[in-house]
Amino acid sequence: MVEQYLRWCGDLLRGDLGDSLFTGRSVTETIAQAAPATLSITGLAIVIAVVVGVGAGLVAGLRQGSWVDRTVSTAATLGIAMPSFWVAMLLISAFALSNRWLPATGYAPLSEGLWPWLSHLILPATALGLATAAELARHTRGCVADVLVRPYIRTARARGAAGFWLVRRHLLRNAAIPVVTVLGLQAGRLLGGAIVVEVVAGITGLGTTAINAVLQRDYPMIQGYVLFSAVIVVLVNLAVDLAYGWINPKVRTA
């Protein structure tokens, strides 16, 4: 058992994750084939989540108590409670089945053009990103609200800073620090959530590969999948750490 594991580690260093017990194909190759679809969904979901979530949260935080704020809060509360695969089913049924505006299933690689790629991804990525957007909206609102009552904001106002100047120079960077931290944690969640959304959207990606592997107890495949996901998450967190250091001078000098 130990020997087996050591051998696997050795192979791993050479980029060889072994062969699938079921299909007999190389695990590395299988993952390489399935990864683009999954990474596309996840990547697009992150973009949607950041744009929608941070934007809505910022507006809500700056206009606390307004109707915008209440709407965002309600929507975010709902968004967090909705399973992404269910949202995907609803979206696909509304936009791809009842109205045939977008393709219901499948994936087109980017090499086939931007629109075919995007049109297949937009519904699953929206569904996947929704919960993260909701989480980010709440968190951003909270951070903005928190920064607004900090003494240094009062100092800046006392200096005559107001409006856009105040927001840009005093608020954004300080509020971004905790938001960026949360973003790193959300990356893992999105990659996991992609598994189920892929099923709903009929996309053959890492998720569907992994599910089959589990059902077939195809251990090399599962190992490969978990390892690959971990590497992706580590890379994302590395990027987040770099961004964090850039935003927060305290980290830079420490």
């Binding site: 009062r154 100092t155 006392a158 200096r159 800073a161 107001a162 100047w165 960077r173 620090i177 305290k250």
Partner: protein
């Protein structure tokens, strides 16, 4: 260092006032509501003078200062009164005019420099900010001014320090940066809210020394919010004593300390340990400042006052008892009580 001349009996002449607060009344509307959280507050800051706003926490001194800066919390509403600075009523002038005054002719220094400075902005940028906003200076000119200001407040190696962040400095240095930023807008009045409370006492002495120098050189008037009677005795010309949202007494500093005309002032003075009375009991004010939402009617100090009389349940008018010396105690005003400095 020569001591500043003592002000005695000089009436604060309202005509020469740089800032005059008249009948300022603030209501607390959120949480437990308290009408008259700050009520009928009146005082003036003459040109180039230093006025102390003192009292324990919860007495409304910081709120009064924030009202002057237009920085009241949301839950507090201005009900009536005026705050006239150099001919402009800050309560009615509109946001644009208010922004012109804040950080320009009226500067501000706050407690706890660490949290009052933006942690993600260099100190140079923070000092330069007032120059850029109020004098429309470009980045480079403003930076040069910021360097001069850092020099002025006694920070060594100013050019290198411009690019430091607040967390890279000691508390005393941070407070010097706050002061540099406050005087960057070339103010005539600086509102300083407990500027030395968070600092060690030897650092406090340095900061007070700096403020004294700046007052002399720039002709600044200072409104100093503090609870430290020693700092008042050291630094201020006039004293405004607040209790539970009322100004209970205001007077030139020597009169306030020598012949206090309100039982609260005299009790505060009596509760300070004095070197010639070591290991003897200090004066105690029983009870505590009532929390907002439960201020008593009439004289608000009356439940804790050792001289309470039935008449104290009635509202107490502001009465002049000496040159520039006002009290809100009816019994003292009527001559029935001479609280003095109780020991």
């Amino acid at each position: 260092m020569t001591a500043a001349p003592l002000a005695t009996g000089t009436a604060p002449d309202t005509a020469g006032a740089l800032l005059s607060v008249r009948g300022l009344t603030l209501d607390l509307v959120g949480g437990t509501p308290q009408p008259g959280l700050v009520q009928g507050v009146e005082f003036t800051v003459p040109k180039g003078r230093s006025v102390a706003l003192i009292g324990e926490s919860g007495c409304g001194k910081t709120l009064t200062a924030m009202a002057i800066l237009g920085l009241l919390p949301r839950a507090v509403r201005v009900v009536s009164g005026e705050i006239v600075f150099a001919g402009t009523d800050l309560l009615t002038c509109g946001p644009r005019e208010l922004r012109r005054i804040r950080g320009g002719p009226v500067g501000a220094v706050f407690q706890e420099p660490m949290s009052s400075l933006n942690p993600t902005m260099t100190v140079g940028d923070q000092i330069a900010e007032a120059r850029r906003i109020h004098f429309r200076e470009g980045r480079r000119t403003a930076r040069e001014h910021a360097r001069e200001l850092l020099d002025r407040v006694g920070i060594p190696d100013a050019r290198r320090r411009l690019d430091s962040y607040p967390h890279e400095m000691s508390g005393g240095m941070q407070q010097r940066v706050m002061i540099a930023a406050a005087i960057a807008g070339e103010p005539r009045l600086v509102v300083a809210d407990e500027p030395t409370t968070a600092l060690d006492v030897t650092i406090q002495a340095e900061i007070l020394e700096l403020l004294r120098d700046l007052r002399r050189d720039l002709g600044l008037a200072v409104l100093l919010v503090t609870h430290d009677l020693g700092v008042v005795a050291d630094f201020c010309d006039e004293v405004v004593v607040m209790y539970a949202g009322h100004v209970v007494e205001r007077a030139p500093v020597r009169d306030a300390f020598r012949t206090p005309a309100h039982p609260y002032t005299s009790a505060l003075l009596g509760s300070v340990p004095r070197s010639d009375h070591a290991r003897t009991p200090l004066q105690v004010i029983g009870g505590r400042v009532p929390p907002a939402g439960s201020f008593p009617g009439g004289c608000r100090f009356q439940p804790r006052c050792r001289h309470t009389a039935p008449a104290c349940a009635e509202p107490q008018p502001d009465t002049v008892v000496g040159s520039g010396h006002h009290t809100r105690c009816g019994r003292v005003a009527a001559g029935g009580l001479q609280p003095g400095r109780e020991l």
